[in-house]
Assembly symmetry: C2
Homo-oligomer: 132 residues x 2
Amino acid sequence: MQKIHNLSKNQKIIFDLIDKSGGPMKAYSILFNVQKRGIKAPLQVYRALDKLVEIGKIHKIESRNAFIACQNSSCQVSKATAFSICESCENVSEISNSKLSKYLSNFSDNSGMKYSKYNLEFFGLCKKCKSK
Amino acid sequence: MQKIHNLSKNQKIIFDLIDKSGGPMKAYSILFNVQKRGIKAPLQVYRALDKLVEIGKIHKIESRNAFIACQNSSCQVSKATAFSICESCENVSEISNSKLSKYLSNFSDNSGMKYSKYNLEFFGLCKKCKSK
DNA sequence: TAACAGTATGTAATAATATAACATTTACAA
DNA sequence: TTGTAAATGTTATATTATTACATACTGTTA
């Protein structure tokens, strides 16, 4: 059973923007886009982003310092994320592959470490950019 | 056959520092540490870091904006990196697991994307921190 | 060895990303 | 209705990284 999160005003404004954009967005680009809606300061954006990441509605693309809406059916996968990133056009998409996620979620080694979360980023050329 | 890279003066200073530290280091902490050796500006640090990353002598821990010396025997794995990160003590170590790297290097999906590189970060609690 | 190309360096300024500190307000359960 | 957690607003500042431009070093080859 998934907890329903009622987004606050700022969280909703910012989530909607990222979601509609269809791709990764950077914090200050988000800020610029929501200033007309009353969100004036970086901290307001970062606070909403932190919360949205925490509840799995968005993910941070670490290598790009950007945020993307969760593309998995019900955002259950905030602790097990995988992305493919085109190094030419910077298109990003979330990889949803149950074998991969199962493999990584079950991964353990002899370090004695208990893994509770992972983030995987694949880089390469997307279909379009490959054929250029 | 692996290409031998002769490190330049700044590259050597910075690599030695990171390597000796035994863990991840942040750019401005590196800067602070090498100022007595004549490296005065951030750009000098970032240029050396870029090069060291490029040739695989160090890796960037994206989620921490930090750099760590490659812990694999011969630094051949700069395009296929995996790390375990303790969220409590921030200890980081490079995972060297041939099954894992084989699995990920061979990963492909139906997106039409050609993957040439990946970076994986596992998070959790290390042995020490678990038992606290 | 002169000319060249590629790589590395030095320096100043500034851009881009993110957080600290503090005051106030809202949501909502006890 | 009072207590508390979450969210907001605002200013300032910390941290991370790059642009732009000038100069110097290293190794190759004509």
